[in-house]
């Protein structure tokens, strides 16, 4: 696809930065409102209409707070860490396409780039944990490293199914491949694994062990204040939005509006972007909803879940996908009106998903 945004890349990145900051502000407000309503409260109400200015107010407050560095901290490591967390997450947005034309830089190896970047901010978290010279920070940093590296694998293997099906790593082409049917239909197990693993990657409940407020009082963030803390916060919510957007791109059909062919480019772009954002916000709401529902896992449950459940089942998903692609066409179709390979993918994927749910059920029952 050739790009039609009439700016050079530097300006596009500036626009992207503004968009990301505003998205983070909106997400924090939405999260507090959703959690409030789940707990039969109202959430923020005092700044502006229904507290709508709460997020900017908090941002301004954080900007004016003192930027403390503990005496015993490793200064360079400590002060560098927030940026090393935020920058890779921000870089993820560069190749995520809102629509075919609304993308900062469409990369041919976009998915590879994203998977590579999504594990990079572990370094920042470890540096924060180490540099703070605080036992809780160190514990949190080590926990986050263990967790993020473990969940990186199922994430990458789940994505592999999409790559096999579409035959490309280019995110725009992946979405164009979903014009007829979103990939979640063909890759139900892959979607579920990707969802769970990216929950862990975002550090959201029930996998918020690194930041567990009630155990390690904020993990690597303990000693941070003011703007550096705000940058961590920005990174967390930006990664939440990036992961949800990625889920929409890979599995939920991106900006492909059903039954809306033949629109002129500008209307199509607007409707497509709105449709994309709607789906992303629904996923974001789901994440907040989970946060209001589930308690935190124990660290051993977390690791067991990654290595004993997610990774074997992501292998299974990959093998099933490859098998259906190679041998599916030689077999009779299982479902009416559907290509044989597709029908085998749908059936096998659904069976595997049910199997996965049952395995999770048994696992959680035993470890409860």
């Amino acid at each position: 696809m050739n790009l039609t945004i009439p700016f050079d890349p530097a300006i596009r990145i500036l626009i992207l930065a503004a968009v990301v900051f505003n998205v983070v502000l909106i997400l924090t407000y939405v999260e507090r409102k959703v959690l409030g309503h789940i707990q039969q409260r109202l959430g923020p109400m005092r700044t502006g209409f229904h507290g709508i200015l709460q997020a900017p107010a908090d941002a301004v407050k954080l900007m004016f707070k003192e930027d403390l560095t503990p005496n015993s901290a490793d200064r360079l490591v400590y002060q560098l860490a927030p940026f090393l967390v935020f920058v890779p997450i921000f870089m993820m947005f560069i190749t995520i396409p809102l629509t075919a034309t609304l993308v900062v830089q469409n990369l041919d190896l976009g998915l590879f780039y994203l998977v590579a970047l999504s594990s990079l901010h572990i370094v920042g978290l470890l540096m924060a944990g180490w540099g703070s010279d605080n036992k809780y920070a160190l514990l949190g940093g080590v926990r986050s490293a263990a967790q993020l590296i473990s969940y990186e694998l199922p994430l990458a293997f789940a994505v592999m199914g999409v790559v096999l099906l579409t035959g490309t790593l280019n995110l725009t082409t992946i979405v164009h491949n979903q014009a007829l049917v979103p990939l979640v239909v063909l890759q139900p197990l892959g979607f579920v694994i990707f969802l769970i693993a990216s929950l862990a990657e975002m550090g959201r409940t029930p996998f918020d062990i690194p930041m567990a407020e009630s155990e390690v009082v904020g993990g690597p963030w303990v000693e941070y204040s003011g703007m550096r803390w705000a940058i961590f916060f920005l990174g967390e919510y930006a990664s939440l939005f990036a992961s949800c957007a990625l889920m929409v791109v890979l599995y939920l059909g991106g900006w492909m509006v059903p039954f809306a062919g033949g629109l002129d480019p500008i209307t199509g772009t607007i409707i497509g972007a709105a449709w994309f954002l709607l789906k992303t916000m629904l996923l974001v709401f789901f994440v907040f909803w989970l946060r209001g529902t589930l308690p935190r896992l124990r660290i051993d449950q977390l690791m067991a879940f990654a290595w004993k459940m997610l990774i074997p089942f992501s292998f299974l998903n990959l093998i099933l996908t490859a098998w259906a692609l190679v041998y599916g066409d030689e077999l009779p179709s299982l479902l009416p009106f559907i290509h044989p390979a597709g029908s085998w993918l749908i059936v096998a994927g659904s069976v595997a998903t049910v199997l996965f749910a049952y395995a999770v059920h048994r696992q959680t029952r035993r470890s409860a």
Partner: protein, 158 residues
Amino acid sequence: MIGVLKGLVQTWKTHWRPRVTVQYPDERLPLQPRYMGFPGLMWDAEHDEPFCTGCQVCMRHCPTQCMTVTMMDNPKFADDTSKRRKIIDYFSINQSRCIACSICVEVCNFEAIEMTHIFEKANYYPDVVVDLPDLLQMSADHRAHKDTMPSRETRDQL
């Protein structure tokens, strides 16, 4: 797994339930009639003087020793407009120490002190020691909402 789904359904339902909290400074929950805020001194309208005679029994019984009470001869007793020989001279309560336990009210021989509904004493420059005029004013403010208070007149009915 089933538990997770049940939990999600539960929180989804709760999400649409009406709120149970109150936007505090704008709206308040009603206080119970016997709610105990800070103590205040009552005014005897009949003789136009406080009920308190300064007998110091509250001061001696106060578990946190937050009170200072002194007594004086009642000038109105001399010109025969009051039956009280002694009257309160100086009365102060350190509200940062008061625990609103109501023991002073229980021990008062003249039913001169009462628990008001006043509890919002936060201030940028808190004057924690409250003296006689303020204590009388607190009680007077409190008695303006007479429907919900256990005053001298209504205490026996409660």
